[in-house]
Subunit: 255 residues, 2 copies
């Protein structure tokens, strides 16, 4: 798997920015005039990963994975800094639950983390790329790591120990399904719920570690996975898990 250097990513982004400027000039500027310009990046103060994870664990039981990651970070920053965090509609992001409304697509903790990273570090449309890299690399970390890592102060289940699994995917269906298979616990069991709350806490912990490094000006990770560059279509890294040995070749650019 090829890592994309910051330079390569920025070169691609340069072409992107140029097309943005053109399109903006011709027809889109009227749309943007109606919304308040954001000051990117948002103000950030370093947070305690442990405390953040604990909040995320408990918030899972209120607004599930996506909302919990957002709440664990934005609620602390609302207290420390105020706006724009205080007005962010955190609870609406409960919809990220179960891979968006139970459809098993992206794990909500990653979906929520992507929103957090791109608000705090800013979006690439503003010429800021760390939010994109943090969101993407967190998906790779999640896919490759034995989860859950974080042990809450007062676990609601799995009190003696918990089985850890590697999802090899950012998808809820696959991540949850592999853990259920390994543990034997049903979807609606207290053990599965505690597991997903711990995964959410583990993602919040890792995200805050990256954001703190970024705040210190020391975040220099490369983009570790960008499927369109390597395989000519969006996707994750283990094609065979769904395709078996018959992996389609993407149509190639015309010369």
């Amino acid at each position: 798997m090829k890592e994309i250097s910051r330079r390569e990513f920025l070169i691609g982004a340069g072409a992107f920015s140029a097309s943005f400027l053109l399109s903006k000039f011709f027809e889109i500027s009227s749309v943007q005039a109606k919304v308040k310009p954001q000051k990117w990046p948002w103000p950030y103060e370093k947070l305690d990963p442990e405390k953040t994870a604990e909040i995320a664990y408990n918030e899972w039981y209120r607004i599930f994975c996506g909302g919990a990651v957002i709440s664990s970070i934005f609620s602390q920053l609302a207290e420390k800094i105020g706006e724009p965090y205080a007005s962010f509609p955190i609870d609406a992001f409960i919809i990220m639950e179960g891979g968006v409304a139970g459809w098993g697509t992206i794990c909500g903790s990653l979906n929520g983390a992507a929103v957090v990273a791109n608000c705090i570090c800013g979006p690439r449309i503003a010429g800021l790329y760390d939010g994109h890299i943090i969101a993407s690399n967190l998906m790779k970390w999640y896919s490759e790591t034995e989860l859950p890592i974080y042990v809450p102060k007062n676990p609601r289940a799995n009190k003696k120990s918990i089985i850890k699994t590697v999802s090899e995917s950012p998808l809820c269906h696959i991540s949850v399904g592999k853990w259920m298979k390994a543990s034997g616990h049903a979807y609606r069991s207290p053990e599965r719920r505690d597991r997903c709350a711990r995964v959410t806490a583990s993602v919040a912990y890792e995200l805050v570690k990256k954001l703190n490094t970024w705040k210190d000006g020391e975040y220099d990770e490369e983009l570790e996975w960008y499927c369109p560059s390597d395989f000519g279509v969006t996707g994750q890294m283990n094609c065979m898990e769904c395709h078996g040995t018959e992996i389609p070749v993407a149509p190639q650019p015309k010369k």
Copy 2:
């Protein structure tokens, strides 16, 4: 496939709300005190689906699928109503591109639509369920419909005609991959880009139709797909497409 009646969904939600109240009472209330309470649902004025789709099509070329759906609706409401739309950090949602940072998970137009529906109609944590139902049913509609439907005023490619495909999935990788296979166009081609911009516009169109019906007090759709109830794990409806004939049975609840 079983449809979940509003009544069944609300009964499940009732147990959920009770556990929410308990958990909130014991330990989470301090977190929520730090953020401004939202007034759900957000104020809404009916929009023109055609105009919204046209904005979404053009915004795709600026901030891609997820950001474009959010922008097409929130920018108009920012003009008509002002807050809370004007301060929403639309551009951060560019990260939903390509199934979140190019990973091919949920199509960004659906991810963005889920956020829009749950801001405007409110989240189920507030006892409001239409946002959840709209987001979920839009995913089913997307999976079953020949897309793209919307024809922009000034298409940037596919000017004479465009191939339509049914994704049978809300996932970017599958939706884009099936269209690329049917059309023969590469990922980075103008044709594929125009196709995704049109899909985004089609989703924005359909979402506004649902929101307008909701505003009129006439939105009464049932939840059409909720995998955890039927199969004991989150997921989409066509297990065999990835699993082949060896579909695992989810661990069952202990009696």
